[in-house]
Symmetry: C2
Subunit: 332 residues, 2 copies
């Protein structure tokens, strides 16, 4: 593998000049530049990123720490990060952390706090992410995508504030005539995830009974089980689901219990996954712009790396999207 020294020798210039060409420095005569570029091509020269990073002291890179890469919210956030990082010519790495066990968290933190490793974006939608965020040494440049209301950390954090939308969704159901709204929750760091907080607040504001939250996991079977539980109670006529995947399984559970959506029971989801508009019935849900969240994280991180911390990144608030899965409750 040829190095800049080899290229320099072959082109009859110094290695520093080759380095300048590599970095697009304006202080190289056009003629010289072309000469060097030509030799590079001929020799099949490829710059060595590790050497460049070592010399510079910092990599142009971002590592994403996340508990998951396939669930919609995580995947879409990652997509936003990747797109934005690519625009800024940052390399992107991924480190999945799928346990809150201390040893696992420590290993993830070690992997990621490389002094030459660029910046870190922690997707802290869950306990794993928050644990990593807490354990990350102060010297590591990092920003975090979090849920609203997570205990403050001394870092730049960005969130999609879904509380208002959750409250809107709840009020929408109440406005349709439902006596109350039930909630099936997905796993969360804070007991009072933003979604749940908005729901609770809207019910309280309407002076309506607040039913017990039904917990579910990320998996369809647990969401289905939660749905069956509520489906068995004839007084339940409206369900706010923790996310769209949950809503899918819940809708099936209702179907299996002989309850129609939306005629007998109204269902609202969260996220607006691609395809939610094509369900039968099309799903009323809260649109979350995770891609924008991801992009904002990169913007903030770049600020962090350049020593110009970007506080207060404002993101458009998530909005309720009305479709077909909600209706007035059945007349008794």
């Amino acid at each position: 593998m040829p190095s800049i020294r080899d290229v320099a020798a072959a082109a009859g210039v110094s290695y520093q000049t080759v380095s300048r060409v590599l970095n697009g420095s304006p202080k190289v005569r056009t003629e010289t530049r072309e000469q060097v570029l030509d030799v590079m091509n001929r020799m099949g020269y490829r710059p060595n990123r590790a050497a460049r990073t070592l010399g510079r002291g910092r990599a142009r890179a971002v590592t994403v720490v996340t508990a998951n890469t396939t669930l919609y919210g995580y995947a879409a956030t990652l997509q936003g990060i990747e797109e934005s990082a690519r625009d800024q010519e940052l390399a992107v790495g991924i480190r999945v952390i799928d346990s809150v066990r201390d040893a696992e968290v420590r290993r993830a933190v070690d992997d990621v706090s490389d002094p030459s490793g660029g910046g870190v974006i922690v997707v802290a939608f869950d306990a794993e992410g928050v644990a990593v965020l807490r354990a990350l040494p102060a010297g590591v440049p990092a920003v975090a995508a979090i849920e609203p209301d997570v205990l403050p950390v001394s870092r730049t954090t960005i969130c999609l504030d879904e509380r208002l939308a959750a409250a809107d969704a709840t009020r929408h159901l109440l406005g349709l005539g439902h006596r109350t709204v039930h909630h099936i929750a997905i796993p969360s760091e804070s007991g009072t995830r933003g979604r749940e907080a908005g729901w609770r607040q809207a019910l309280a504001g309407a002076g309506v009974e607040i039913p017990e939250v039904v917990p579910a996991g990320w998996d369809a079977p647990s969401a289905y089980a939660a749905g069956r539980r509520l489906a068995g109670d004839p007084s339940v006529t409206a369900i706010l689901c923790g996310n769209d995947d949950t809503a899918l399984a819940v809708r099936r559970a209702l179907y299996d219990a002989g309850r129609r959506v939306p005629e007998d029971v109204s269902v609202i989801g969260f996220d607006d996954v691609p395809g939610a508009a094509y369900w039968t019935p099309a799903l009323t849900t809260v649109r979350m712009d995770f891609v924008a969240l991801g992009r904002a994280c990169v913007t903030a991180l770049v600020g962090e790396l350049d020593g110009v911390p970007v506080r207060d990144v404002s993101l458009a608030a998530p909005e309720l999207v009305l479709r077909e899965s909600t209706a007035p409750p059945p007349i008794l």
Copy 2:
């Protein structure tokens, strides 16, 4: 930031001894090792990955080149790669290539063919991936996840052979009494993607008319449009969809056209996305183990890097999963 030299000085040993401790060399007295480890902790020492990579000449890392990170097949493959890479202590990077334009392909290839960059896994389910695979210099260690039947490249390639399952699915519909089976295709490199090939072959084998393939994109609207087109033709009673996302939109299109699934039209998908079992009706589909595919890619790549090329990675064949979206055609 302390370096091994600083640690060595503080511990009263040579930097080489520190390096040995770092690499778990057995040729260090236990006492010395603990002493060094202790100093490292106290000083907050963090190894510099770039320096290590430069010294060694190669990184313990894998970069995934893919056209997408959120669509199910891609995301699940990525998940498999990540899990396996983590097991093997390889860092994982991502480079998305979302255009077949020559300049874009070249940039992706440049980004990825770092002489110190470890290995590359190309997810070549589509034209973008295949273009990168073709443009990758021979010196870069790489393996590819591909569709069956893609023109051979001189590299290790791994695929999920879906042709048999596609043929099974088609024959299943024929066996139910359908006169023929229509196919809505997703974007593909080869005009005859594995799925389409299996379908075509089964129809030919049964001596049945082979309808024209209806093309669709990755997006729901285009799949919906394709579905509407077929829904308008009363002679179509069975549709094999390019993937489950397509099937979702097609099912909706049929619904909007007043055609029931499966009573009027049978629908089969591809992939078995999480949740397909919870649709109403639950989707009959072909289960694709993309996670295993991803893991196999890492195994093969590690072989490649160690100079022990792993040929012939065998993966369990995808299987048809019967659920509720297929039935005999309506009696005319």
